[in-house]
Amino acid sequence: MRDLERQQRLSASIVAVDVGDRIYSLITTAFAVCIPVLLIAIAVEIGRAAWPALHQFGFGFLTSSEWDVPAGKFGAAPAIFGTIVSSLLALIIATPLALGVAIFLSEFAPRWLQQPVAFLVDLLAAIPSVVYGLWGIFVMIPLLRDDVIPFLRDTLHLGGTPLFSGPAYGPSMLAAGVILAIMALPYISAVSREVLRAVPRSQREAALALGATRWEVIRDAVIPNARSGIIGGVILGLGRALGETMAVTMVIGNRAEISASLLAPGYTMASLIANEFSEATSDLHLSALMAVGAVLFLITIVVNAIARWLVWSVAVKAEA
């Protein structure tokens, strides 16, 4: 008798648990599914809006360097070129610095210095893009124009090279590259720091036991272990630099032309959209801007996916 009652009570509570649990599970699954749905929605909407321009210009959209708004001719090559060049320049400047900081923080820094320095470097990521742009216009560009570029041209005699030819107005690809480098630095540094820290102590100790100097330990035992993670961090910084809009718009000069000189103004995909979108009157112009957005979307997705995969594979290896 008692057993039967207990069994009835148990089965009743199991049914009640089931219903509440089911609703809860449904709601959380619905919320989680929002994320893929949002991503698909972005892809679909932008793709749909970009289709008219892509259909009209075909593959030439990516290769033509004629961005002529009144004539209705849209070629995104200058913007794509500018995005790639400014981001690469940013990586060239930022990666050695970020790696240096990461190595400093994980290997050489005394304990009391680690937290503050790491904190300061990470804080660079918290500064809004438009503030970087403001600082870029009023502080960095005059600095570049009055001090750095004359130094590069005259003292280092780089003025003859095609990279530094032409007049230096101020707003330039170089300025954009430097600002993007500062903005990408904290991302590369943070990932590299984690990855370097994840290298097991035994590796370092083994190298030391074999007679390596401190630097040789890092070069030969630590970095090779952390290599894919560091590359992942660099690519993450690249992803950030590719999509950066406001700071670049304010310092790059916004001229839709491909130029060999770093001192010439340029254009990036993001700044192209930012500048022309609210004033685009014709449907074709809008669609062309959407197409540029679609290209940017694709590039950043691929770059970020590669970065995440690289960093995750290191994390999995470290746990194993």
Partner: protein, 269 residues
């Protein structure tokens, strides 16, 4: 070689100090009560302020939080409870992908979805664009915080007769709540400085407006417009606005860092 890394460390911390120093120097003398209470004046007239921009930013943050935080927390709960199911892994990966999408792409998406059909800019579209950007951040922090809650707590609740959903909501979520709130604050601090999504959703407004269906001013937009203008008074207002914006962002970021470090210091270190 070792000295090079020391040099790199110094060079890497310099820009931050530079930027903060310049903002403080150039923005400080324009900071006064007027900045927070007066409306923007035409060029040439003294005493303009950014009251509409500051209020606009607060309204946009409010909309973004009410859109992004619930979805983020819900998704985080799902991810924390289904560790390795295919859907969970996909969602986790896609959440990181969503995080990396440039803010301008979010902006044109929000324009296509929310502005074009209606025919006018609105604060709501700007807030939703910003909210979509907070979702990945909130999801990630929620998942981390919930994973940190000790299993013993869950088992105790279940042993006392709580159903699974009650354990998750009442026991686990409440324990992880300080961390989740901190994560949400960090996400909000990050989007409060975003300009690009607002360029063609909220669009900016010279006048005072708190309506959700009208364009609304925002602090980053105002800074951008003033910075690229040719007027000196507007430039100094831009610096002052940047000082206010950075103040907000830094205070929240630093407070969040301190809070999570104190609470989980023993666990992480």
């Amino acid at each position: 070689m070792v000295t090079l890394t020391y040099l790199a460390a110094v060079l890497a911390t310099l820009p931050l100090i530079f930027i903060l120093f310049h903002i403080a120097k150039l923005g400080a003398h324009s900071i006064n009560f007027d900045l927070f209470t007066r409306m923007p004046q035409p060029v040439g007239e003294p005493g303009g302020g950014m009251a509409n921009a500051i209020t606009g930013t607060l309204i946009l943050i409010g909309i973004a939080a009410s859109v992004g935080v619930p979805i983020g927390v819900g998704a985080g709960l799902y991810l924390a409870e289904h560790r390795n199911s295919p859907l969970a892994n996909t969602v986790r990966f896609l959440s990181d992908v969503l995080n990396g999408i440039p803010s301008i792409v979010m902006g044109i998406f929000a324009w296509e979805l929310l502005v074009r059909p209606v025919g006018h800019f609105s604060a709501l579209s700007g807030g939703i664009a910003l909210g979509a950007m907070t979702i990945p951040l909130v999801t990630r922090t929620t998942e981390e915080m919930i994973k940190l809650v000790p299993n013993a707590l869950r088992e105790a609740a279940l042993a006392l007769g709580y159903q699974r959903w009650r354990t998750s909501l009442v026991v686990v979520l409440r324990t992880a709540m300080p961390g989740i709130v901190t994560g949400a604050l960090v996400a909000i601090a990050r989007i409060s400085g975003e300009t690009a999504p607002l360029l063609f959703t909220a669009f900016g407004n010279q006048f005072w407006s708190t309506s959700l269906k009208q364009p609304i001013a925002a602090l980053p937009l105002q800074i951008f417009n003033y910075a690229i203008s040719p007027y000196d008074e507007w430039h100094s207002l831009a610096w002052a606005g940047a000082l206010v914006l950075i103040g907000i962002v830094l205070v929240i970021s630093i407070a969040a860092r301190l809070a999570t470090r104190q609470r989980f210091g023993a666990v992480i270190d």
